[in-house]
């Protein structure tokens, strides 16, 4: 069976990812481009006896080397690895979205054009004469709508034709436009003998005029000194990207003239958009949308969470079976406490990730996410983030892992990492399950005050964290503000969306399982003792460094509970309860991951053993500790950088201890 490689190229919102998911289904692989933090998505499918490898090139706005994404996209295409490049444009916003095609014209790799969102264009009363367009462009052109099943057959047929013809865009009309720029022809003449494979002299000249850093540097290398000086003198007078941009759109205008009929309708904001863009109601509407989305994500999540609980039951069954079979305690511990227990925990968490990815993928797909970006752009911009970042923050009140999974809608890597780093400061559902309880036990009527202070500290924490990490992650020159289109609302492509979500959840599962199993194994070894506490490493360590942790307001029992809370916050209370009740906390530790093991007389135990300042210190320590090991793994899954994941984790551990120290010493002044 022979193979062919297709590269998908298109601006954000051109429907590129939808097509990629629809074509490749579950046969896709997400990794990193070598040496870069940009996500690399590849997949494959078979059709008519051929295997097709599909590369989903990173979303970029043009072929100019302004960002990592754009450099990767360009290099991949120029490398000749792709047999054919599939360029996507949005039929409903044809004039603007053909810019990518105009910018591509002159690159040597053969291509064809897919005009996506045919259905939306039809609703707008637009008719597109594909045959006439094909004639003008010299490449295969097709209308496409991902919701239309028949469209895929047409897609395959066009693909096969494109591979047979291997045609290039007819650039003669476009070049006529460029020739109107003073200096264009002279520069092009100077480039005639340079040999940069993959690009035509016309394309190189245009990029040179646009001040493209990579092209300019390459040309400087290739050309002799006086030639380089002469083109640089010519280039200065040419008018740069503004002039070439005008040429491209003039060409597009002429291309569409006579091929597209549009009944001119006045633009008006729809009802929903009038609410979202409302000066006053916009923000509440967005927050409400995200909160409803959060609730909605529990619907698909619950069955999977139920499955996780079944695994817990399985644990008891296996434990019973093993002990009747006379299995050694060590093996039993490994199988039941580490493996099965962790799996149950992971599956429960994954349910939420599945729900969040589905619901927020849906919001992105239909176009709501762009509105969220618009409404919160100003507020989030102060933190160096995009408006979309508000969504992961709100989701993190439920589950940080869901928040991390939600950041996939952020297209800039630095902003994505910063968003996750800030989202960790948001107390998650597990923190909300224990912090109010602990506050009430110790501070009674003062509990709401403690929680209000926690929320204030959260905002302060996010602000400080943005200051600390922001500079390195989101460089000043990258803090490009909002220049974005608000796409028309689309119908969702359920099939493609579900395939994507399943694929994503599977990927997350594999990666998360590895990390969680490893961490749980380490903790299990550390806390393993033969039923008596004082033989375990964790206990001895806890006792040894107690003089230090005491300064942070944490006696050894609370410190170990703090350490346990990095695995799962639900666990912290279980661990305290095991420690103060004098039981084996190795056991308590593992059971705590399931959220159980809370002693009946916990309140008395706590009040008898822990002072108020210590309690306050502990509340701060666990609230602002790293959310849990699953969130850690999910963060790694999203940002593809072990270095940054470790850095954020270390920052949160240290930060939590510092906050607990401050809380403790303030507490000592009060009580």
């Amino acid at each position: 069976m022979s193979t062919a490689t297709i590269a998908l190229l298109g601006q954000p919102n051109s429907g590129k990812s939808t097509l990629f998911n629809a074509l490749t289904g579950l046969k896709q692989h997400v990794g990193n481009w070598p040496g870069k933090t940009v996500e690399k998505k590849e997949g494959s499918f078979a059709y008519n006896g051929m295997t097709y490898e599909v590369a989903d090139l990173p979303g970029s706005y043009s072929m100019t080397a302004n960002s990592d994404e754009e450099v990767i996209t360009r290099d991949f295409i120029a490398s000749g690895e792709a047999d054919i490049v599939c360029i996507l444009a949005d039929s409903s916003q044809l004039e603007r979205s053909l810019f990518m095609l105009a910018d591509y014209a002159g690159i040597s790799a053969p291509c064809f054009l897919v005009l996506n969102m045919e259905d939306v264009a039809k609703d707008q009363g637009k008719t597109i004469n594909v045959k006439a367009l094909e004639k003008k462009l010299g490449i295969p052109v097709m209308l496409f709508s991902a919701t239309d099943k028949k469209a895929y057959d047409r897609f395959y047929a066009t693909l096969e034709r494109a591979l047979r013809e291997k045609s290039h865009i007819d650039v003669s009309a476009l070049e006529k436009e460029y020739e109107k720029i003073s200096g264009y022809s002279e520069i092009k003449d100077q480039l005639s003998e340079t040999d940069i494979s993959g690009y035509t002299p016309m394309w190189l000249t245009v990029k040179y005029l646009e001040n493209d850093k990579v092209v300019s540097a390459k040309l400087k290398e290739e050309l002799s000194g006086d030639k380089a000086a002469s083109i640089s003198a010519l280039g200065e007078k040419a008018g740069g990207a503004i002039a070439t941009g005008e040429c491209k759109f003039n060409w597009i205008d002429k291309l569409l003239d006579g091929t597209v009929n549009k009944s001119e309708t006045g633009v008006k904001l729809g009802k929903l958009d009038r609410i979202y863009t409302h000066r006053f109601w916009g923000k509440p509407a967005v927050v409400l949308t995200v909160i409803l989305g959060l609730f909605a994500s529990f619907i698909p999540a619950l069955p999977i969470m139920g499955l996780g609980s079944l695994v817990d039951i399985l644990k008891n069954v296996v434990q019973g079976a093993l002990s009747t079979a006379g299995c050694p305690a060590l093996i039993m511990g490994l199988v039941c406490d580490v493996f099965i227990q962790s799996m149950g925990y992971i599956i429960k968490m994954l349910g939420f990730v599945f729900g969040v990815t589905l619901v927020f993928g849906f919001l992105e797909e239909v176009g709501v996410m762009a509105r969220i970006s618009y409404v919160f752009d100003n507020t989030m911009g102060k933190l160096g983030l995009q408006g979309k970042s508000v969504m992961p923050f709100l989701v993190s009140f439920g589950c940080t892992m869901g928040g991390a999974a939600g950041t996939r809608v952020i297209d800039n890597w630095g902003q994505k990492v910063l968003t996750i780093a800030l989202a960790w400061a948001v107390p998650c559902g597990a923190a909300w399950a224990i912090v109010p309880m602990l506050s009430t036990v110790f501070f009674g009527m003062g509990a709401p005050v403690v929680i209000a202070v926690l929320l204030l500290v959260m905002i302060l924490h996010m602000w400080v964290t943005a200051k600390i990490f922001g500079r390195g992650l989101v460089k000043k020159e990258d803090r490009c503000g909002m220049i974005m289109e608000l796409p028309p609302y689309h119908k969702p492509r359920w099939g493609a969306l579900l395939r994507y979500v399943f694929g994503r959840t599977k990927d997350t599962f594999v990666r998360v399982a590895k990390v969680v199993l490893l961490v749980c194994l380490i903790f299990w070894v550390l806390s393993y003792g033969s039923g008596v506490n004082d033989t375990s490493i964790l206990y001895r360590l806890g006792i040894a460094i107690e003089p230090v942790t005491k300064f942070f307001g944490l006696p050894w029992q609370l410190f170990i509970a703090f350490v346990a809370s990095s695995v799962g916050k639900e666990g912290a209370v279980g661990v305290i309860s095991a420690l103060y009740a004098g039981g084996s906390y190795g056991e308590g530790f593992m059971a705590a991951m399931g959220g159980a093991a809370r002693a009946a007389n916990l309140n008395e135990l706590l009040l008898a053993n822990v002072t108020k300042p210590e309690a306050l210190a502990f509340i701060f320590a666990i609230t602002f500790n790293l959310p849990c090991v699953v969130a850690l793994a999910a963060t790694y899954q999203e940002i593809h950088s072990a270095k940054w994941t470790a850095r954020i984790a270390a920052y949160y551990t240290v930060g939590a201890l510092l906050l607990s120290c401050v809380a403790y010493h303030i507490g000592l002044l009060i009580w």
Binding site: S62, D103, A241, G245, K248, F249, G481, I483
Partner: protein, 75 residues
């Protein structure tokens, strides 16, 4: 005049773009080039500007608007 000085529901033609190569690249790639017509859909304080141009609803940050010189035209 600057883009953000335009009132809602007015139309204008882009006259000039000012900024670094990256900014110019992004703005032209979304379709705003000299000579193109824009219609202001929404212009609220502390919110990005909403405008319609080349088939597309575009949202532009307020500081981005600083680099876009326009001339108002009658509808």
């Amino acid at each position: 005049m600057k883009l953000q000085e335009l009132k809602e529901n007015t139309q204008a033609v882009v006259r000039d773009l000012k900024g670094d190569a990256r900014f110019i690249g992004r703005v032209t790639s979304i379709g705003l080039t000299p000579g193109c017509r824009v219609r202001i859909i929404k212009n609220d304080k502390n919110r990005p500007l909403l405008l319609y141009s080349r088939d597309t609803m575009i949202s532009l940050g307020r500081s981005e608007c600083d680099g876009i010189e326009v001339e108002e035209v009658s509808a």
